[in-house]
Symmetry: C2
Subunit: 273 residues, 2 copies
């Protein structure tokens, strides 16, 4: 089992090399939102790193953390799982002795919707065995975040070819003709649990969601109906403006933004949807 700790020594590999994974989970009225999807991503990411992540143990840690804040209406639970200490340089020792850090945080301020977003000069780096997982080597997202300007709610990160891929802390969904598009899953640095949940919801309603790269020119196409950004803490948020470009606001975008936290009963239980 991982050791549950509050701090780590200098030789912890999470600190030394970004060698670990994390999740931030919205807790509402004692219920961890989309808990199962968070738990699954955490443990799949850990497995991709070869770090032991006993799901039932992590689940018990979540329940214990939630039970300690009985009267708190909305807060954020953060879990960080590192490989622990050990190994010679980058090469980990086997077996490892993982550490788990658990902390409670305020919910960030609710944005005025629709929001304005910027375009980051810092690209998403993908192509590794860790694509899509929420690992601790997040310096690209930090560098993109340092480009925030006043009034912007998010910075969108491009790939090496300038296509719009994801926000620093969010994924993208676009209305396109009479369907939805989202950048290809294999192009994502972080595959958000909220994106997965929203896609599941839309498909269960019979709506088409297609993966397709989004070139900057696409957002001025007459086929483009608007964009929403999403994560599991702030939900689904319509985008009004990308840099200086006003985006269309399809009704469908407003609709998914308003119902995004209603998926709870279907998706946050103890079993897969």
């Amino acid at each position: 089992m991982p050791s549950v700790v509050w701090q780590v020594p200098g030789d912890d590999r999470g600190l030394a090399y970004g060698d670990g994974v994390f999740e931030t989970i919205l807790v509402r009225c004692g219920q961890p939102f989309l808990k199962y999807l968070h738990l699954r991503r955490l443990c799949q990411g850990a497995a991709a790193l070869g770090i032991s992540c006993p799901e039932s143990f992590i689940d018990a840690v979540i329940q214990n953390a939630v039970s300690q804040q009985p009267n708190r209406e909305r807060w954020v639970l953060k879990l960080m799982l590192t490989r622990g200490s050990g190994g010679r340089g980058y090469r980990p020792s086997d077996p490892s002795h993982p550490r788990l850090l658990v902390s409670a945080h305020e919910v960030p301020p609710v944005p005025h919707v629709p929001v304005s977003v910027g375009l980051s000069a810092e690209p998403v780096l993908t192509g590794s065995s860790m694509d899509g997982y929420k690992h601790l080597s997040r310096l690209s997202q930090v560098q993109a975040s340092r480009q925030f300007r006043p009034g912007l709610f998010e910075m969108i990160m491009p790939d090496a070819n300038g296509r719009l891929v994801e926000g620093t802390r969010s994924n993208l969904l676009m209305a396109w003709d009479n369907q939805w598009i989202t950048p290809p899953m294999r192009s994502l640095a972080v595959r958000g649990v909220m994106l997965d949940a929203v896609i599941s919801m839309l498909r269960s309603e019979g709506q088409a969601v297609r993966e397709r790269p989004l070139a900057p020119a696409d957002i001025v196409s007459p086929r483009f109906g608007g964009m929403a950004i999403m994560n599991s803490v702030f939900g689904v948020v319509p985008v009004q403006k990308l840099e200086t470009i006003e985006l269309p606001q399809a009704d469908s975008i407003a609709r998914i933004a308003s119902c995004c936290f209603e998926m709870d009963s279907d998706l946050s239980g103890n079993s897969l949807p």
Copy 2:
């Protein structure tokens, strides 16, 4: 000034996001080898992240650490500089309160030269504003290191096009016709201080060193004279075998391998070479 610490809390950004830089410095008989180059890379990397890194303070920390090990012949000094705690998510607070971790380590075992190396399936990820710096988001190198097999001294990491770029903890130099080639500096995840030192030494002797991508097929070309890998802790090491391919062993490779630690007086002082 950064706080000098031995452990970090769970909200340290080095731990949470790989938000920081580090150096590992070989100390021989009380002299930190290539100190100035390490110090320069650390502070340039910190500057690229917007982290304060007062060079004279770090230099004093190095001298202090070295003075505490007066009778140790060869050891490794590790410095880790994180942005410290603070900020909302990826976006750092301004100003930051950096932390510096200082630790002493054994020198890794000296390899039997020439060595065998493997080819990693894990690619080098570049294209970010942090290319070349020794930052703390090193999960690609960790994943490549997990592919080590018995008898291999290093794993060579390719770029997305399969070209050979660098080792998990070393850079490459190849004999090619009557000159030297090394992969383009802009293609490197980590630009090693030893590579810089060796190139300076070769050029000061009037030898040509050219930057040029290295395709896997190049190592079986008749123009290819052999390969050395290098870092500032193990020096310059000739490569005998890459996976199953026996590499040629130009005399020039053996020569730079034997004289690599002689550059000390020129390059490890307090001023730039």
